[in-house]
């Protein structure tokens, strides 16, 4: 009965699974076919945006606006895509661009304009604007009504922002400043900041509040844009007339940066140390124990509005723009609606942009509190200036906008990445003296500027020849295979079986060829190319061995990532194996509830990588982390301080921290060892006992040799996975400080997806493959000395 029921349930599940898969295919197929054969002759415009901080409300506002647009423009059908937050948005956008099928209209942050324009991805809008004026279109955009700096942010002339053609209509923006806790200011007896406050006022207030018990004066984030904003208040900047000429050598720039470093590291309590990975960023302010937090833009407001009023245990807060140094300054951070250079419908797309960037939509989006409308009249309306909601000083953002400048970025995304990671080592974690950190930045950026790969004029990748060659090769291979099949060595029956076998395996074979073999071959080809991952493949240039030459002769960051990865592997592989084996020995004992213990040991292995990484970031936090809280009482009597894992001591302790974290995941390895242990014949151990061997001798003379094939398997798997560390370092440190926790795979990711050097990344990936393969071969080669295999053949 029970068996019949079991079978029925099994059948039901199987049928359900088949139906589900079938349904998925049918619906997608029907949709695509429907689109192909639809009698709808309207023009389809694809719009893509994100709604990260704005959440569902932003999603709904855009949707409603698009519906209004569709009603007004019956000839245009709009398809909307919202991948979620900004990071997912850019990933999807890049994938769509690379595939040659980008959306027509989409968000672009001003910081991405130089690189996107450099890649030829965006349509210049000046002609469309002029045509509107000429035709006197009723809802035409008048850029004079916009905050000028927001418009300037989307101009780019190939070298610098602020001039040249217009590549986007800013939809909203923010200026930056500090959010301040009114209650802490009152408690410390500090005057509230005014819009024209100075850095002296700022640090005096921070010091005063820092003296309150358990309080810190301010959180000062050192993001590249904010560091440049900070320098601008002293009339300075990182870049000179161009990005090739840095101003970091100027005494004034150094002094200004050193002042910030000194506030953070020479004093206690004025600024958060920045050593803590958790206690940084906008969320620190929510604790109510930090007097000020910034420089942040308007985007933190929705989350700060959730702070309860003082009567309910929260606190009152407000906004103050950037303090003055030798001058008043601020920056604009803005997002535009832009049009793809590849769009087939530029006029329809422009009509949509005009609508979405228009005043009505801007007013609606302003109610989210997330950003400021770029059209002055909308920004100065109650839609934005809402006196019923904090911050009180909404006008502060607008006053700052009058003096705000754009922070332009190099078309080479490495500038921002290098500036961030190198200067942070001097300013934030302080694991490197500031002059050295600056020198590192200058050295690495100069190396990047003089990178021969970037300057070289390269021939186009001979895709046509490669395609013809591959097809020829494939055809020859296929013929050879068919001939071999037809050769006399097979009987008719065998041939039939062979054919049936291939037919049955064909779904997998086709899947393998399409999804595994093809990308593998492509990445091999791309290793010899220079290709921006966001442009069509046709734009790839042939480099020959130049990628490899660059990697092995000039790429210091590659060498660092190899060092970090090896240092990790050297620690993680042996300790992981040892601990897993010891755990398996424990789990192999016969005690009550052993299944519970086994499950408990295995449990971490099934947890998701990102969540676990976030958890471990807390564990290794230098200031309040569990690890250091546990180590401190042990080490302090010896006069040793626990390491700042991802801070000043990251060079030595960063990789080991990840190795310690990896020990949390030994459950899978342990299970394999446990299975191996249970295969060790009991009578061998008994024979050894009778032969006079004690428990230790039995373990080393019998158990261990019998386990050696399992040890070999686990070791190889561990070596391979030790070279694949990505999620942890991506989530926990982003490779920082500097490159001290930048594992090879993370570096490959950075090159491919942050710097758009997909060819270079492919070359790195193949080097990784060769390294892993050689290590595996070495382990295998030595194995016949120590691995005992039952049953003969080795």
């Amino acid at each position: 009965m029970a068996r019949a029921l079991g079978r029925f349930l099994q059948g039901l599940l199987a049928a359900g699974a088949v139906l589900l898969v079938g349904w998925a295919f049918v619906t997608v197929g029907a949709r695509e076919l429907g689109r192909l054969f639809s009698s709808d002759d309207r023009t389809e415009i694809v719009v893509m945006h994100w709604s990260g901080e704005g959440g569902q409300e932003e999603d709904a506002i855009v949707e409603a606006a698009l519906q209004r647009f569709s009603a007004q423009n019956p000839a245009i059908r709009v398809r909307r895509i919202n991948p979620g937050d900004a990071a997912s948005f850019y990933t999807k956008l890049q994938t769509m661009m690379a595939s040659g099928d980008p959306p027509d209209v989409f968000y672009v942050g001003s910081e991405r304009i130089p690189s996107f324009v450099d890649l030829g991805l965006l349509l210049p809008l000046d002609d469309l604007l002029a045509a509107d004026t000429q035709a006197n279109v009723p809802d035409r955009l008048d850029l004079r009504g916009f905050f000028p700096s927001t418009v300037a942010a989307f101009r780019f002339d190939g070298e610098g922002s602020g001039r040249g053609a217009l590549y986007g209509i800013p939809k909203d923006f923010t200026t930056v400043g500090f959010y301040w806790n009114k209650d802490l200011f009152a408690r410390a007896g500090v005057q509230p900041p005014r819009d024209d406050w100075t850095w002296d006022d700022f640090i005096a207030a921070a010091r005063q509040i820092g003296r309150l018990p358990d309080c810190t004066g301010a959180e000062f984030v050192t993001w590249p844009a904010m560091i440049r904003a900070y320098l601008m208040t002293d009339g300075l900047d990182i870049k000179g007339s161009s990005f090739e000429t840095l101003r970091t050598g100027e005494r004034a720039v150094f002094e200004s940066l050193d002042r910030l470093r000194s506030w953070r590291h020479d004093e206690r309590g004025a600024l958060t140390s920045g050593k803590s990975k958790i206690a940084s960023g906008s969320s620190v302010f929510l604790s109510g124990k930090v007097g000020m937090a910034g420089p942040f833009g308007r985007w933190v407001v929705p989350s700060y509005r959730k702070i309860p009023p003082p009567s309910q245990g929260g606190f009152a807060w407000d906004f103050a723009p950037m303090p003055r140094g030798t001058t008043s300054a601020n920056i604009v951070l803005t997002v535009s609606w832009s049009i793809s250079a590849q769009t087939a419908h530029p006029n329809e797309s422009w009509r949509l942009v005009r609508f979405l960037a228009g005043e009505q939509t801007q007013r609606e989006l302003a109610t989210l509190g997330l950003a400021i409308p770029t059209i002055r009249s909308a920004a100065e309306s109650p839609a934005f200036l809402d006196p019923t909601l904090p911050p009180e000083n909404d006008a502060g953002y607008l006053r700052a906008a009058e003096i705000a400048q754009i922070v332009d970025w190099s078309p080479n995304p490495q500038f921002e990445a290098l500036m961030g990671s190198r200067l942070d080592q001097g300013l934030k974690t302080a694991d490197v003296p500031l002059p050295e950190a600056i020198a590192n930045f200058e050295r690495d950026w100069n190396a990047e500027c003089t990178n021969p790969l970037k300057a070289a004029v390269l021939p186009a990748m001979p895709w046509k020849a490669i395609a013809i060659g591959s097809i020829l090769l494939l055809a020859i291979g296929l013929c050879a295979w068919l001939l071999w099949l037809r050769s006399g060595s097979f009987t008719g029956r065998e041939r039939e079986e062979e054919r049936a076998g291939y037919a049955l395996a064909s779904p997998w074979l086709i899947g393998f060829l399409l999804f595994m073999a093809f990308p593998v071959v492509m990445s091999l080809l791309l290793a010899f190319a220079r290709w921006k991952g966001v442009s069509p493949l046709g734009q790839a240039a042939f480099t020959g061995f130049a990628n490899f030459e660059q990697i092995f002769t000039a790429d210091a960051r590659f060498r660092t990532s190899i060092r970090v990865t090896l240092w990790y592997a050297v620690i993680a592989v042996p300790t992981g194996q040892l601990l897993a084996l010891l755990a398996a020995l424990l789990m192999n004992t016969k005690v009550r509830g052993i299944h519970l213990f086994r499950a408990a040991w295995y449990l971490p292995s099934v947890l998701a990588g990102v969540g676990v990484s976030v958890l471990w970031r807390w564990v290794f936090d230098s200031d309040h982390g569990l690890m250091n809280m546990a180590l401190e009482p042990l080490l302090k009597p010896l006069g040793i301080m626990p390491p700042e894992w991802f801070g000043a001591d990251a060079g030595l302790w960063g990789a080991p921290a990840f190795a310690i974290m990896s020990l949390w995941f030994i459950g899978g390895t342990m299970m394999v060892y446990l299975a191996g242990l249970q295969q060790v014949p009991a009578d061998l151990l008994e024979a050894a006992a009778i032969d006079g061997a004690g428990p230790l001798r039995r373990f080393f003379s019998v158990t261990l040799p019998m386990l050696s094939p399992v040890i070999l398997f686990n070791t190889i798997m561990a070596v391979i996975s030790s070279f694949q560390v990505f999620t942890q370092s991506f989530v926990m440190t982003g490779g920082e400080p500097g490159d001290l926790t930048r594992f090879l795979v993370l570096y490959i990711f950075n090159q491919g997806f942050d710097f758009y050097e997909m060819g270079y990344a492919s070359a790195l990936a193949w080097i990784l493959l060769v390294i892993v393969l050689s290590l595996t071969v070495v382990v295998l080669r030595t194995s016949n000395r120590w691995v005992h295999v039952e049953g003969g053949a080795k």
Partner: protein, 375 residues
Amino acid sequence: MAPVSLQSVSKVYANGVKAVDSVSLSIADGEFVVLVGPSGCGKSTTLRMIAGLEEISAGSLLVGGARMNDVPARNRNMAMVFQNYALYPHLDVRRNMAFGLERRRTHGSVIKAVLSPSYRAARAAEQQAIDTRVTAAAATLGIQSLLQRKPRELSGGQRQRVAVGRALVRDPVAFLFDEPLSNLDAKLRGEMRTELRLLHQRLRATMVYVTHDQEEAMSLADRLVVMKDGVVQQVGTPSEVYGHPANRFVAGFVGTPSMNFIQGSIEAAGVFRWGGGALQLPPTRWTGLSGWHGKPVELGIRPDQIRVGTGSCKGRVITVENYGDRMDVVIESGGRRITSRLPTASIREGSETTFEPMLDAAHLFDPSAAGATLA
């Protein structure tokens, strides 16, 4: 070598199962004792308790007069041959045989050997002695040519010899064998039996041997211990156990083909009445059974004690198994099947025949579960 003595030894598992129930047994120095019984009778458990591989739940184990209950296996200095040989698969034959000796050497420390030249010399001498003993044991068993091989390169019989050799090189207080021949084919089993017997004759060592094969037990043992359900049924020489079984179980277990059992009852004047008629028991068989008159008893008679073609009992031949030198004939009579073993004769299956049990050699058993021997 030393005598081994079990005093009311019991084994009760955690789940309450009593595997061995108060076994008492004295094994003399140099004696070859075989524990025999059907599977699950507790014979292996008893052996493993002697070896120290199973804890003794109750009772005492004495070896050479010393109580060994709490001495771990490795310190009991016994040698054991396992059913599956239990050869270390990663070591060659020489290292397999030397393993036990190496564990017991007095100069075992490698570190001391590195530090002290005199220790190193002593260690080398010890190693030399071990090699000599291994070589000698291998010569005894005719496996000198196999010393460099790994177990997986050996045949079943060769592995068996190595397993014996591993026990042999040591100088244990007792040799323990746990069904060592059951994985061999019949012919090899026969050969090994002879060799083990010869080995015992030469070594005069205390040997405890476990088997479920009563023929093997009979052929090897100085003394047999027949066990059933954890309880010793009978201890005696093979002749004693065969000729004078303590109960119906022992009678049925020992001997091939099995003893015939015929249910019936005793009438006055020593007449045994059963479905096939009445049999007059000789006076030696029924004196002292006056209390059983009129009650059901079981008559046991070995197949070789039944003559066919003569006597008063009638039956029909249903099968004939001809072995060339002898034949086993199964006769159906009075609703029972009776096996007779006799020299070859011309008997056809299906033919009617007469037969006669030689009642001088018959046994009478209590028909209850205990099956005690009455006469």
